[in-house]
Symmetry: D2
Subunit: 133 residues, 4 copies
């Protein structure tokens, strides 16, 4: 069982992606892992991450990792979001690192840094989410 | 400007995380990047990814990458989700790869694969999301 | 205590909205009920409703109310979504019924029913969500 | 066409629910309106409402209705959330007002108001979302 092989101390995104593929295969969960179901699950988990913060003041939110239980919950939800994102990408053959690199490049053109030489502004799709305002 | 340095052809998660940090710093966007705001933004972007699939049949969803425009939209939303996840992790000092590796290990105990030697079942928190049923 | 007054058998949206206002006031929860927090909470609860359906086939989803426990969970999440929507509207002085009536009218112009006399197409914002395709 | 009948100035939730049923029927959109699709659409729209607030300070968020364009956007997203909630309830035969009334009653027992006579604490499901802390 590949699952029981000792894992490297310093995992890469690709090695984790493969472990998730094997994990689902070993449990015959692939039929559930359609792109639509995984997009829904990703959104649900992102909501669970947000839930931790919904009533917190900015100060409370900033110190959330100093409470052992909250810290565990945050890491747990981060793991879930990343797991479903990787599984989603696997079903559709999307490379998430390439997608993000390409997006950052588009955003460097869309939102030139103050003091940077003005870049030509191509007609591109919206950027890293929306600009933070 | 670090942004204009040629980027490696094969980015790692960590190199992209650092580019996002520099991107935000060069635009003085850090004040917006609180954990709560970033958790909200992550959830919003996960919703935008789901929006692509909301009315599609399973067949339409499975072939979404064969349409050039939909494929771009999917990659764009994947990039947004990953960007906000990395920025969120940066603000709180969470290592997303470690978090996911730890979660997969917990889930291998919680959901033993059929045919695997039964594992001791510790009292752990819920697994990679919920099991897919 | 208004909370202990017998409630009418057939509540209106407005009477429930007022009970929620009194409920929060009696517990001094108003400071938490900012528009941003309530929008986050609404989104979290909508995610919890979606969670019930995320791995279900269309057939399983359609019969979710025939299981007593699932039916309770669905009604519970519907109540949460509606509660936070009403509380959100209260903080900003939005009348949700008026907002929906206005939107339906805009959508009747945007998406003329087949067989209806073509309506003039004003330049309006997107409709009841997006059209279902 | 019922859609073209003059609408009452003061709509009720039930009259709007019926208009949405007729609206979808007149466009043959019912096949898309499965519980799962509508739960996804509701979640997507709640995300769009949250998007308006994601980078705002509490002060900016509180005055969002004083800007004409933001006010329109808020009302528009409130309408979308309510529309999909009503359509979701229609497909499953859930009465949202009854569900909310029942939930408020459960919450009055779960979270006794300070100064109220202590209520017996039955073993109930979690309340109007979670308590705001």
């Amino acid at each position: 069982m590949s699952e029981q092989v000792t894992q490297p101390a310093d995992p890469t995104l690709e090695s984790l992606r493969r472990r998730l593929v094997e994990f689902a295969a070993a449990r015959s969960w692939e039929p559930f892992h359609t792109p639509k179901n995984l997009a829904a699950a990703l959104s649900v988990e992102a909501g669970e991450l947000l839930e931790i913060f919904q009533w917190l003041t900015p100060e409370q939110a900033a110190s959330v990792m100093s409470d052992r239980e909250s810290a565990h919950r945050v890491r747990d939800e981060v793991a879930d979001v990343l797991a479903y994102l990787l599984q989603f990408c696997t079903t559709l053959g999307v490379d998430p690192l390439e997608a993000l690199a390409a997006k950052i490049e588009r955003n460097e053109l869309r939102f030139p840094a103050p003091g940077a030489k003005p870049a030509p502004q191509p007609d591109v799709n919206p950027g890293v989410g929306d600009p933070p305002m």
